[in-house]
Amino acid sequence: MWEALDDEVVVLDLRNSQYIRINHTGARLWGLLERGASTRVLADSLIEEFGVSREGARADVGSFLTSLRRSGLLEPGG
C-alpha cells in the first residue's frame, strides 16, 4: 500500500509492516507505474527528465522494478 507525500512515495510492505520511502526519481517512476506505464515508457521518462543514456535508463528501471517485485510491492498484472 502506498501514498505520495510531496516529492516522495511512502510504501508499506504488508509482509513485514515496514514502511519504505521512495525518493524523487523513484516516485516519478512509481507515478507512471500507477498509470500502467510500460518499461519503455519508464525508461523514456528517465531519459527525458534526467538526461541519462538509454542503457542507463533501462538498467535503472530494471533494478527499480526488481526491487519492487522482490518487496512484493507490485501486484501481478491482469
Binding site: 507505474l33 519492487l68 501486484e75
Partner: protein, 137 residues
C-alpha cells in the same frame, strides 16, 4: 451487585489485555493483511452499513483505547489498538485504514478504523494509503 460489577469490569479488562497480547503476537508473525482478516477487518472495501455500535461496543472501544495508550510493546501502538478494536467489533465488518503524514523530515504512520459509519481513531492530517500498484511494465 457492586461486587458483581467489579468482577465484570476486571473480566473485561483482562479480556482486553489478552486480546492485546494475541494481536501483538499476530502482527509479529503474520502478514498485516492476513492478521487483519483473521481478526475480522479488511484493508479496503466498503464497511457494512446499517449497524449501530451499542453502548457495550463503545465501552469496549474506550477500554482498548485506554490500554492502547499504555501498551509498552511494539513500535506502533495505534495499530495494535486498532486491531484489538476491530476484533471486538468484527460483527460490524470494520475496515482498517492506514495512513502517513510528514513530520518535518520524518514520515509518521498511523492506523484507524472505520466501522458502523464511525471513525475510530484520530486520522487528522494523515493521508490514507492506497493499494499496491499493478505490474503492467
Amino acid at each position: 451487585m457492586r461486587g458483581a460489577g467489579r468482577v465484570r469490569l476486571a473480566v473485561s479488562a483482562l479480556t482486553t489485555l489478552s486480546r492485546f497480547v494475541v494481536v501483538e503476537l499476530l502482527v509479529r508473525v503474520v502478514e498485516l493483511e492476513r492478521a487483519a482478516r483473521v481478526l475480522g477487518a479488511s484493508l479496503d472495501g466498503p464497511e457494512l452499513a446499517g449497524r449501530q455500535l451499542t453502548a457495550e461496543d463503545r465501552r469496549a472501544v474506550r477500554r482498548a483505547q485506554a490500554l492502547g495508550r499504555r501498551w509498552p510493546l511494539g513500535r506502533g501502538p495505534c495499530l495494535r489498538e486498532t486491531l484489538v478494536i476491530a476484533w471486538m467489533l468484527r460483527r460490524h465488518g470494520p475496515v482498517l485504514r492506514l495512513g502517513v503524514r510528514r513530520d518535518g523530515d520524518a514520515v509518521t504512520a498511523h492506523a484507524w478504523l472505520d466501522v458502523a459509519g464511525q471513525r475510530i481513531g484520530d486520522a487528522h492530517d494523515y493521508r490514507e494509503l492506497h493499494r499496491a500498484v499493478r505490474d503492467t511494465s
